[in-house]
Amino acid sequence: MATAEMPAVAGRWARAPFYFNSAAHLMRIGREKACNLAELLEALRVCPDESIFQHTFQTLREHHFIREGFSNDFAHWAFAACNEVGLAERLAGIDVREFTSIASLRQRLVDIVDSYGKQNPRARERTAFEPFYFAASELIVIPTPFVGRNLAEFADGIRQVSLYSIHYHFIEARLRLKLNSNDFSLWLEHELDLARLADRINQIDIYTATLHDVRRTILRVVQSAL
């Protein structure tokens, strides 16, 4: 019975606690710069992993408040500075959550820009309104005082941590985990045996929601189990 199980789920101790971390990023100005699509393609091939991360995962956090119309910096530049709507659409269609490594994400970006350039040779050398400057994200992980030893404490942590923490655990995590999942779902499944809850959280769409929305949805899902 659901009602009888509620206290048991809420108070059940996890096998290992969930330690909430946060992350702080400093932006380093990169050496690569692109004034047209050919240069973008070349830079995508050689830029540091931290640049791919910055312009995809990290920029999503920086613009988390936008519900629609912003996906990554490359798509935005293709649209706003190159007026290449078709390319912008394809780049914007990249869902970072499908990637568990920077290398595979980089390859997808290269493939899209390369194939667009082959189909639109004139576009390759056309000078953009403004250059694309590559940056790289320098990341420091910051511990927080919040610890979830059971579902109730976990919910409390979700409620109180910063959006940086939500992004770190929910979005960036797949690069560390090498899984199409996130820290929250993994913990719920492995430490509390709540696989369905974990799945529901992993299905939250970050491209049609702000990080505030993500936090609210996670809380709603977790509270439905309490």
Binding site: S22, A23, A24, H25, L26, M27, R28, I29, G30, R31, K33, D49, E50, F53, F57, E62, H63, H64, F65, I66, G69, F70, H76, A80, S101, I102, F129, E130, P131, Y133, A135, S137, E138, L139, I140, V141, I142, P143, T144, P145, Q160, V161, S162, Y164, S165, E172, L175, R176, L177, K178
Partner: protein, 460 residues
């Protein structure tokens, strides 16, 4: 404003000449109506600055977790000392920023000292020449110029002590103090607040050997940077949400300022705050307003300074007055530099904020407008596109016609305009607040001092 600088017919429209710093109404309003408007009351001398805010004062704005992150980062830096050096203690954006940043770092127990370099008029003439030349102007770096620069650098070097762990030199004036480096083992940072995208090669060629000795350089935009031997970081310029110009105002204050300036709050108000400078295109703003006004009712406020102490500013103001012609809904205000509350109130009262610059550094007036949750229409130049993401946090325009269209569109689509304003405020909160820059400094200090381990995004 000096009466002599205005066409007599316009300067004498009010019942008595406006005192310096007060409003200049556009011509054309019947004399009776003008006399009914109360005279704006702005102090003729700068008021005493309020005490700087405490860190806890920012909690309602950025939240406790964000403050906790700052405290955590600072805790690791306890016992480390920082010296920041610039060329002036008052006036200008750098001094304004340091006046806020340094108390916050000290409150976080990262002991930070602020020193100002000294020099004679000849030194500051040279550094002003450098400043203009680094923006692309002409300047001859003669041996005499080099000697003056190095002589005052040496004087300051002798006067100052360099015993801290970190040294931050702001802009070119103190840049050569890096020659003190041999005396100790601190880390040196050059914070460049100016646009180096197209520097005069002679001046840059003289300064560059000094800059290459630094451990890191900081720029306000990737476009402003140069290829250097040291790592370069991006620190956006920022606003202080608790400053007079950006803090929340009581509605009664906003209402009073609008009353004082004769604004009708029952009708849309569009505002551009900027110096009377051709690069801010105030005449273009009036032209856009006139085009839009054929379809939508609105008032235009052009408020700024620079027309009192700058001959070119006075000339631009005159052009603006002429373009305004007889329109009673154009309100032109030449404000003194200490009009922060008035500017804040005007931005708060605005339906739309415009910054139709033709050339721009970063454009902090855009940041201010966005922070007040206003839909912003801005020229796509300088640092503005970093702030105004077209159709997401505001709209970018490239022409008078484009600006006019966006005025019409946003005034007739208030829900869309409101969403832009909401996104714009979030964008500022995320990227362009003083507290974000405090965090950037703390991170940079930790990285330079080797006190933290950088994580790869893929690292467990």
């Amino acid at each position: 404003m000096s009466d002599g600088k205005l066409p007599k017919s316009k300067a004498t429209l009010t019942s008595e000449p406006p005192p310096e710093g007060n409003s200049v109404q556009a011509p054309g309003v019947p004399e009776v109506e003008r006399r009914q408007r109360p005279r704006p009351k702005i102090s003729t001398t700068p008021p005493a600055p309020p005490p700087p805010p405490r860190l806890d004062d920012y909690e309602p704005i950025i939240g406790k977790p964000e403050l906790d992150d700052l405290r955590f980062l600072a805790r690791q830096l306890r016992g480390k000392t920082v010296k920041m050096v610039n060329s002036t203690a008052v006036g200008g954006g750098v001094a304004e920023m340091l006046n806020r940043l340094i108390p916050l770092l000290n409150e976080l127990e990262v002991e930070t000292k602020w020193e100002v370099i000294t020099g004679g008029n000849d030194f500051f003439e040279v550094t002003k020449g450098f400043h203009n030349a680094l923006h692309g102007g002409e300047y001859a770096v003669t041996q005499a110029v080099k000697d003056i620069f190095m002589m005052y650098t040496e004087q300051n070097r002798q006067r100052m002590q360099f015993v801290e762990d970190l040294f931050v030199m702001h802009d070119p004036q103190p840049a050569a103090l890096i020659t003190s480096r041999e005396r100790n083992r601190g880390c040196w940072v050059w914070r460049c607040h100016i646009d180096l995208s197209n520097p005069n090669p002679e001046v840059w060629g003289f300064l560059r050997p000094f800059i290459d000795q630094y451990d890191a350089a900081i720029f306000s935009s990737p476009a402003f940077s140069r290829q250097l031997a040291c790592p370069q970081y991006l620190f956006y310029p920022c606003i202080d949400p608790l400053s007079e110009k950006n803090k929340d105002l009581e509605e009664s204050v906003v209402a009073k300022v609008c009353d004082d300036f004769g604004l009708d709050r029952s009708r849309p108000i569009i505002t551009q705050i900027s110096r009377f400078d051709r690069l801010k295109d105030p005449v273009g703003v009036i032209q856009a307003y006139k085009l839009a006004k054929k379809y939508v009712d609105c008032q235009l406020v052009l408020a700024g300074g620079g027309a009192t102490d700058d001959p070119e500013g006075a000339a631009v103001l005159q052009e603006v007055m002429e373009e305004a012609d007889d329109d009673p809904d154009i309100i032109i205000l030449n404000l003194p530099p200490w009009s922060a509350i008035e500017i804040n109130a005007l931005q708060c009262a605005s339906t739309l904020v415009i910054q139709k610059s033709l050339k721009e550094g970063f454009g902090l007036t855009v940041t201010e407008g966005l922070w007040k949750g206003k839909p912003v229409i801005a020229g796509a130049v300088g640092g503005i596109p970093t702030q105004v993401i077209h159709k997401l946090t505001g709209v970018l325009v490239h022409s008078v016609e484009g600006c006019a269209y966006q005025i019409r569109y946003l005034l007739t689509h208030p829900e869309y305009a409101a969403q832009l304003g909401k996104n714009g405020r979030e964008h500022v909160k995320e990227n362009f607040l003083m507290t974000t820059n405090v965090k950037r400094w703390l991170l940079l200090f930790q990285i330079l001092l080797g006190m933290t381990r950088l994580h790869s995004p893929e690292e467990r």
